[in-house]
Structure formats: structure tokens, C-alpha cells
């Protein structure tokens, strides 16, 4: 813990924000897809890069909305609400399904501990390895959901024209 705290003091989160900010993507769905991948990897390494208050509100959501505003000029209220919903959800998806890949994650320790108390021996390594497929599947499903989201927004704009 001391080392992560120290790195935060020396700008770890700011550095990550700058790296993400360099990404130029055309739509909200694409920006959120990139965030999904980065955030899942961060969760798997137990890096605290993320959070609705720290990352989504000040950085990711404005980027996602900005991308669509650039593309379509005017965004109907419903589209803005959709972008907000997706921005908040992506943070949860990546956090939930990525974290157990980390070998000392709370969830991994819970599984090993609970099963141990019930007389079933498993190791942290086995559990964290067994958590990898669902993390990958989650990324793929979320990217599909974000593609549909992009389509929905562009349909919404076309109908209004």
C-alpha cells in the first residue's frame, strides 16, 4: 500500500489521465471502449485508476460527449442521457469483471477463504487464473453494447433531420 500511495502523490492518476486524453476517437462508443480495456487492465493490476467521481465525471464523460458533439453538432437530450448512462456503466463493468484477475484481490481472498473454511482447498493463483475468461468475455460484450449505442445515437440524429 505505501508504494501505491506514494505514486499517487507523485501524479500517477494525472499521468494516466493524460495518456487517455491523447486518444482521439470519433464516437462516444469508441472512447468508452478504449476506457473499458484500459480500466479492466488497471483493475487486474489493482491500480486505482478509475472511479465515477475521479475519472468518469471530470474526464471520460466529457470526452465521450465531446466526440459525439463534434460529429453531430447538436445532440438531443435523450442522447446525452444515454452517453451518461454508458459512461457510468463502463466504469462498473471494468471494475467488477477485471478485479479478480489480480491475485490478491478482495474477491479472490474471499473465495479462497470461504472454500477453505468449507474444507475445499484452492490457491489464489487458481482462482485469479479462473477469473480471466470472464474478464475477456465482459470486454467483448461491452464493446458490442457500445457499438449498438453508437448506432442508436446516429439513428436518433438521422430521424431528427
Amino acid at each position: 500500500m505505501p508504494i501505491i500511495g506514494l505514486l499517487e502523490r507523485y501524479g500517477l492518476k494525472q499521468r494516466a489521465a493524460e495518456l487517455i486524453g491523447k486518444v482521439k476517437a470519433a464516437t462516444s462508443g469508441k472512447i468508452l471502449s478504449i476506457y473499458m480495456v484500459i480500466r479492466t487492465i488497471a483493475a487486474a493490476l489493482s491500480l486505482r485508476i478509475g472511479g465515477h467521481v475521479e475519472f468518469i465525471r471530470p474526464l471520460i464523460y466529457p470526452m465521450a460527449e465531446g466526440a459525439d458533439k463534434n460529429k453531430f453538432e447538436e445532440l438531443p437530450e435523450e442522447a446525452v442521457e444515454d452517453i451518461k448512462g454508458m459512461s457510468a456503466s463502463v466504469e462498473n463493468y471494468a471494475n467488477f469483471y477485471g478485479q479478480n484477475v489480480f491475485i490478491a484481490a478482495g474477491g479472490v481472498l474471499l473465495i479462497v477463504g470461504t472454500l477453505g473454511e468449507l474444507g475445499i482447498e484452492v490457491t489464489e493463483k487458481q482462482v485469479s487464473n479462473a477469473s480471466i475468461p470472464i474478464a475477456v468475455i465482459a470486454i467483448i460484450l461491452v464493446i458490442i453494447q457500445l457499438r449498438l449505442h453508437d448506432k442508436k445515437i446516429s439513428n436518433m440524429i438521422n430521424k431528427n433531420k
Binding site: M1, P2, I3, I4, G5, L6, L7, E8, R9, Y10, G11, L12, K13, Q14, R15, L45, L47, H52, V53, I56, R57, Y61, E77, E81, K84, G85, S87, A88, S89, N92, Y93, F96, Y97, N100, I103, A104, G106, V108, L109, L110, I111, G113, T114, L115, E117, L118, I120, V122, E124, K125, V127, S128, A130, S131, P133, I134, I137, A138, L141, Q145
Partner: protein, 301 residues
């Protein structure tokens, strides 16, 4: 042995939190808070020597301190945003090296030696700290302060998994698991793997929705449904266990009880509909739950 040394190191970090919160005069509950961290430190450092009864009493005292709101987060010297930004520019991507070294060591030692991932994690953390000190040119005192800040912020949640694991065992000993299992076996035949897996995954999701916390649900449902209907039927325990917990997370995505994840963000992003996050997540959560069931059936058996 190696693991024991790391527990002692972890105990020392908790002791730093105890000393610093004791000295923190602006903290009203500094005695209670310091006691909490001191007890945690003692259980880490002397856990091997102390009798289980004494550790049990110590944990109970920690519980009482928390329940009576004696454990609060102290004040810390926070660096300014400008300082962080400036340092982050100056140091650049080298800042990621210590973090990656933790991951590399945890993975390397976990995969290729017999020491286990937790030891690798600890070795990586020690090496990462040394690398971090070189790269940031920070003082050792700063490192301790930051360790204190983070452990206090993460706070009592840091020890939740261990306690909940014990809860599962307790439920089992008290026969709660048996009651659930008997109720379930009226509906589904024991020995039918397909129904067992469905009951385990769906049970995790539904119970998580009710409790708002997948960890607590895991302890109860694993004792009640997982053990008799899945693990005793020959499932690979690591795979079935890992999938059961993330099946619970599908429930977390669907419930307003998990306010931190679903309701607060709607407010933070000023959404018109406070259930917008849950509505957005619902199709994905349900799809993923079905995938969990299929994956557990195919992969764990």
C-alpha cells in the same frame, strides 16, 4: 515462512497507521481509531503465536469500535493538484515502472515458483517501493505517510473478505446452509448438475440484489447451494468459485441496493433518471449471467 514475514510487514504498516492516528490531535476519535489499527497490527504480527480465542476477542473489539463509530479517517497532508501534475510531467511514464514491477513479480513468482502468488505479491511490493523511492526521489517518511493515508482511506473494508469468509463457515456450522439446501432440494433434484449450476449462479445474483453486496451473498449461497449442488458434484472448485462471485456481480449491476455503483453515479453525472445506470446495465448483466451458467457447466465439469 516467507508469507509470515510479509504478514509482519503488513502489520507494521497498520502500526504506522495506529501511531499516526494517535498523534493526530484534530481527530476526535483518535484513541479508538489508534486502538483499531493497533489491534489489526497485533493480529498480523503475532497471529501465529496467539491463541485463536484471543484473536477472536481482538476481532470482536475491532467490531465494537467500528460499530460505535470510533474508527474515523484522520487528516493527511495532501499535496496540491498542481504539484501532482507537475511531478507527473517531470517523471513521465517511468511512474508506471514500480506498479508494473509489482505485477511482474506477483505473476512470475506465482507462476514459476512454489512460493505462491501472495508471496510474489509481497516481494513485488517491496521491490516496487524501492524502485518508487528512486524514481520519485521521495523520502522514506513520505512513503510511510502515504501508506497511512491509503490504508486509512480503504480502512475497515480492507479486512472485510477475511471476516466474511469466516461468516460462511459460521453459517455452515449453525446449519443455515443446510436449511437453504433443504429448501432448494425440494425444488431441484440433488445430483442434477445443470439445475445445480443454474441455482448457484442465479442464487448468487438474486441474493446479491437483495443484500447489495456480492461478498456477503457468496458466503451464504456457497455454503447453502454451492457446496451440496455444485462442489460435491465434482466441479473444479477454483473455476466454479470464481464464476459464482462474478455471477453475483451481475446482480450488483441490477440493484439499487448497490447505491455506490448505481445510484450515486447517476447523481454525480446529473442524470434525469436516477435508475438510468441500472437500465443501461440490465441487458448486459442478464446476458453475462447466462454466459456464467454456460461457462460453469462447460468448463468446471
Amino acid at each position: 515462512m516467507a508469507l509470515e514475514i510479509l504478514y509482519i510487514l503488513a502489520g507494521l504498516v497498520a502500526m504506522v497507521a495506529a501511531v499516526l492516528s494517535f498523534k493526530d490531535r484534530s481527530l476526535k476519535t483518535r484513541y479508538g481509531t489508534a486502538l483499531f489499527w493497533a489491534i489489526l497490527s497485533i493480529t498480523f504480527v503475532f497471529g501465529k503465536i496467539l491463541s485463536p480465542t484471543i484473536v477472536g476477542i481482538l476481532v470482536l473489539i475491532m467490531g465494537i469500535l467500528t460499530a460505535t463509530k470510533q474508527v474515523k479517517i484522520g487528516t493527511f497532508k495532501q499535496t496540491s493538484e498542481e504539484f501532482k501534475l507537475e511531478k507527473s510531467k517531470l517523471i513521465g511514464n517511468k511512474l508506471f515502472i514500480p506498479v508494473l514491477s509489482i505485477a511482474v513479480f506477483a505473476f512470475g513468482i506465482g507462476q514459476f515458483t512454489s512460493l505462491g502468488g501472495l508471496v510474489g505479491m509481497g516481494v513485488g511490493a517491496v521491490i516496487g517501493t524501492i524502485a518508487g523511492l528512486f524514481i520519485t526521489k521521495a523520502s522514506a517518511g513520505e512513503t510511510l505517510e502515504e501508506g497511512n493515508r491509503l490504508i486509512q482511506q480503504v480502512g475497515p473494508f480492507a479486512i472485510l473478505p477475511q471476516l466474511l469468509a469466516a461468516l460462511g463457515a459460521l453459517f455452515n456450522a449453525a446449519g443455515v446452509g443446510e436449511v437453504i439446501a433443504n429448501g432448494i432440494s425440494n425444488v431441484i433434484p440433488t445430483g442434477n448438475i445443470v439445475f445445480g449450476v443454474i441455482a448457484y449462479c442465479v442464487g448468487m445474483a438474486v441474493f446479491t440484489m437483495i443484500m447489495g453486496n456480492a461478498f456477503a451473498a457468496f458466503a451464504v449461497i456457497t455454503a447453502g447451494i454451492g457446496l451440496p449442488f455444485v462442489f460435491n458434484q465434482g466441479a473444479n472448485p477454483a473455476i466454479a468459485g470464481a464464476l459464482a462471485l462474478t455471477a453475483g456481480y451481475c446482480g450488483t449491476l441490477l440493484t439499487p441496493m448497490a447505491a455506490n455503483f448505481n445510484i450515486v453515479p447517476a447523481a454525480v453525472l446529473e442524470m434525469k433518471d436516477k435508475y438510468k445506470v441500472i437500465k443501461t446495465q440490465a441487458p448486459l448483466a442478464i446476458t453475462l449471467l447466462v454466459i456464467h451458467i454456460i461457462l460453469m457447466l462447460v468448463w468446471a465439469f
